[in-house]
């Protein structure tokens, strides 16, 4: 892969909350169509890392580039970059006062300036993509957790992002609802969407990701393709962690 394919580059990211160093010198780059999975114990900065990429959390130092343009210290332009970076949250964060279809179309109307007809058409298309066009007129409280998370994926997809960030998308879901959400994400990967996924679903991570990055104490400890992690040397800690996680299942 050459530099022209590079969508996202993260350079030497540092972030502390008070005395706690959450991110310590994180660097990596992401190419078109790649899926990267971030795994590791809770509290090792995986979610903070995703939030630093679209500047929802402002890093202390380090740089983030989106197709070569610096996202860090973008000032007001940050709102333009965020449109190009979709984000899906652990707790869905659907807008509670809006129906599913309104959730998907509101940013199309207010941020992208689409006409009501265009926005509605696009929103219904995205809902169909996650299999929920029949739930368009339901409010978030009327949806199951899995459905709500799929709506939130549709909401992010509607902006036609160049890269998607998934922050533990199934951690708030019952096991039987986890599946439907993972299937949607897997389909996106097959369609060539570029994605960063923080997850505790080890088997999913290993089956869908091109590269798995194992984080501990704010640093990337080991990183490699699923095959390398399975067979290669130098992945003992990752394998031990995956083994521990699998034991609980």
């Amino acid at each position: 892969m050459d530099a022209a394919d590079e969508i996202l580059r993260v350079e030497h990211l540092f972030k502390s909350f008070g005395a706690t160093e959450v991110l310590r010198d994180i660097s990596f780059s992401v190419h078109t169509g790649e899926t990267k999975a971030f795994i590791g114990p809770s509290g090792t900065g995986k979610s903070t890392l995703l939030r630093c990429i679209n500047q929802i959390t402002v890093p202390d130092s380090g740089k983030v580039f989106l197709r070569g343009e610096e996202v860090t210290q973008a000032g007001q332009k940050i709102n333009l970059y965020r449109q190009r970076i979709g984000m899906v949250f652990q707790n869905f964060n659907l807008f509670d006062h809006l129906t599913a279809v309104r959730n998907v179309e509101i940013a199309l109307l207010k941020v992208k300036g689409l006409s009501p007809a265009q926005a509605r058409e696009k929103a219904l298309f995205e809902l169909r993509r996650v299999g929920l066009d029949d739930k368009a007129d339901l409010y978030p409280a009327q949806l199951s957790g899995g459905q709500a998370q799929r709506v939130s994926i549709a909401r992010a997809l509607a902006m036609d992002p160049e890269v998607m960030l998934f922050d533990e998308p199934t951690s708030a879901l019952d096991p039987e609802l986890t599946r439907e959400v993972l299937e949607v994400i897997r389909t996106l990967a097959q369609q060539g969407m570029t994605m960063l996924i923080v997850t505790h679903e080890m088997r999913f991570a290993l089956s869908v990701a091109n590269e798995v990055l194992f984080m501990e104490n704010g640093t990337i400890v080991e990183r490699g393709s699923p095959n390398e992690i399975h067979d290669g040397t130098g992945f003992e800690r990752t394998r031990r962690f995956i083994g521990q996680m699998e034991e609980f299942r």
């Binding site: 679209n54 929802i56 007001q76 709102n79 333009l80 965020r82 449109q83 970076i85 979709g86 984000m87 949250f89 707790n91 964060n93 659907l94 807008f95 509670d96 006062h97 509101i106 940013a107 207010k110 941020v111 409010y139 978030p140 409280a141 009327q142 939130s152 909401r155 992010a156 902006m159």
Partner: protein
């Protein structure tokens, strides 16, 4: 009894005008309170430290004094000092409006603060500016959450308008008292006046409850509490 009825019929147009003025005072207090109270709440939550402090002082002042004291301060103090010649009716509207803003700002502030951080985060992650997120996501939710509490302001404000009697605003109570001193019939007339207040209260609350039912979003706010 026949006396009372004929007196009331004779004075009915006069009383009706009083009812209209009472309703105007109520509406002005609620309306001005909403108009000023909502931005004040936003300022208190999202504003800089100085702004938050100033709004805090304002709220503290207008909630800390009895309405009657406020009316006297403005009627005999503030407006004459500014050399503005104002009818009592106008003074009453200003005082009730400013006071309403102080109370309502706290209703709205509580509502804004009860909304989870995730709503703002999600809005910003889609590329909305902070103002767009407030305007399209936070404000509508604030209104929905605040509506029941805001509706409860109606009876408070309605009954508070009677205090304007003290500076000679020709509202319902002032006119009732004039009829009493004119006819020497006391209790029946005051009872009729009380009946009108009760009715206005009931009618207004019914309307507000109808609005609440109309704008209700299924399941909204249930996971926030």
């Amino acid at each position: 009894m026949a006396d009372v009825v004929s007196v009331l019929i004779d004075w009915l147009p006069y009383l009706l005008q009083g009812i209209v003025i009472t309703l105007i005072l109520t509406a002005a207090s609620l309306g001005l309170g909403l108009l000023c109270g909502l931005p004040m709440a936003l300022g208190q939550v999202y504003g800089r430290k100085t702004l938050r402090y100033l709004i805090g002082m304002y709220v503290w002042f207008f909630r800390g004094l009895p309405v009657l004291v406020l009316l006297f301060l403005f009627y005999f103090g503030v407006f004459p000092l500014l050399q503005i010649d104002t009818p009592p009716f106008f003074v009453a509207i200003v005082v009730l409006g400013l006071r309403g803003a102080a109370y309502q700002s706290q209703i709205f502030r509580g509502a804004i603060e009860s909304i989870g951080e995730g709503q703002m985060t999600a809005a910003r992650s889609l590329g909305m500016s902070q103002w767009q997120a407030i305007r399209h996501i936070l404000l509508p939710q604030t209104m929905l959450i605040a509506l029941p509490g805001w509706s409860n302001e109606y009876p408070n404000v309605l009954t508070d308008t009677a205090v304007c009697y003290a500076i000679g605003v020709l509202e319902l109570l002032t006119r009732t008292t004039q009829i009493v001193s004119d006819t020497y019939i006391t209790m029946p007339i005051y009872l009729a006046c009380a009946g009108v207040y009760i009715f206005l209260n009931y009618a207004g609350m019914s309307c507000l409850h109808a609005v609440e039912r109309k704008v209700m979003v299924p399941g909204f706010g249930q996971e926030n509490v």
